[in-house]
Symmetry: C2
Subunit: 210 residues, 2 copies
DNA sequence: TGATTGATTAACAAAATTGTTAGTGCGAAT
DNA sequence: ATTCGCACTAACAATTTTGTTAATCAATCA
């Protein structure tokens, strides 16, 4: 019908194309021309809406950092489940979030390496994580006092969780090549991995019993 | 003394500068001019010795893939130690290797993402890893049959090891910001981490006992 | 209607980056 | 000593990539 005047449309199309391009190729590898082409607009439009490649990039970055704060919040989990269930739920939610944003970890890691000052932008995220850790630590302490689980440092546990969950995504092509045909699909492998990681974490907490 | 004729010298200086630049910024982010400057030569020399940025890059890549094959070999570990010790040794060697090549994991991950066909270049590495896994699996099977350890899939164990060991390096600036002042230095944290990872892996294998 | 506004385009300009070339100087071999 | 080859430089050329501008087009509104 109308040949133009889809302002919202083109802007979001550019944003979507840009997210894809930046995620896949990083800031340096991304080309504004490719982004424009993928969005189906002339590359002048990209400058019209976002002025520079840099500003467009910043826009994507801040959006994604917000998204990150959410998963951390959601990992706090439902009110007063028993410890084991909350951990199970937290690990699975974290895994699922990454699974739904597979390029995000690599992107964050690379961009924080490229601009270490951006580690501070994650400060907000880390504050949330901090109170989450406090809660968790208290709970572990209680359980341990009652002899219901092993004593453990919640921060270490968190690093274990993130390490285990992030790796199959951040190193996807390599792991894919390595596991090869052992699973009917990479997603099947990931499903296995999610369960395995939950068990690994719970295993670290479990009291050895007869 | 002599103003020129340091052919070996300049070539290796370019290689060293290139490795650093490529590792830090990736292929796309690296600038041949920066490499030349860091090496203390005119950027024409870079083309003189390596013709193109691409060829220089390939050179670095293949060198590093060789280095990688070695660590995998060395992870096979000393002949006939008991299972626990071999695993301990394998995990620690892997950790130490990454520690001595801190940018390597990020580099490999990024470049394999950028050129998935390069996953095949790792085929060699994976063959070696394959036979290592076979050995390990047999040993685990024997131990498990005797009730000396839990039954486990060696491949899963390997993924656990790599996940846990790689993360504190690939996400260094983030983890650094997160652990903050809890450790006197990041290296102290890493030392703790190495031990913890060994225990985590051994813990997965351990028979729960009274 | 006709003036205004915002979206859009094509062509262009500027900057950055890679790659080349012609020539210089030094040392070694004949 | 002259020639030859190699390392090297400086200037330049080519290409790629980002950013700009002037003109167009369609819708809206006065």
């Amino acid at each position: 019908m109308d040949k133009q005047n889809h302002p919202q449309d083109t802007e979001t199309r550019i944003l979507q194309a840009a997210e894809k391009e930046f995620f896949e190729k990083g800031y340096a590898g991304a080309r504004t021309a490719s982004i424009a082409e993928a969005a189906g607009v002339t590359h002048a439009m990209l400058h019209y809406y976002f002025r520079t490649k840099d500003k467009l990039f910043e826009r994507i970055v801040s959006e994604k950092i917000d998204a990150l704060a959410n998963i951390v919040l959601s990992a706090i989990g439902d009110g007063d489940l028993p410890l084991e269930d909350r951990i199970r739920q937290g690990v699975e939610r974290h895994f699922d979030f990454i699974s739904a944003n597979r390029d995000l970890p690599r992107f964050i890691v690379n961009e924080v390496f490229a601009h270490p000052e951006r580690a501070e932008m994650l400060g907000n995220v880390q504050n949330i994580a901090g109170s989450l850790l406090n809660n968790l630590q208290h709970e572990i302490d209680e359980y341990a006092a009652k002899g219901l689980c092993r004593q453990a440092d919640a921060r270490i546990l968190l690093i274990d969780i993130v390490s285990l969950n992030v790796f199959p995504f951040i190193a996807a092509p390599i792991v894919k090549a390595a596991v090869g045909n052992l699973y009917e699909s990479y997603d099947a492998f990931l499903e296995m991995r999610k369960k395995e990681n939950v068990e690994t974490i719970l295993g670290k907490l479990k009291i050895s019993r007869l």
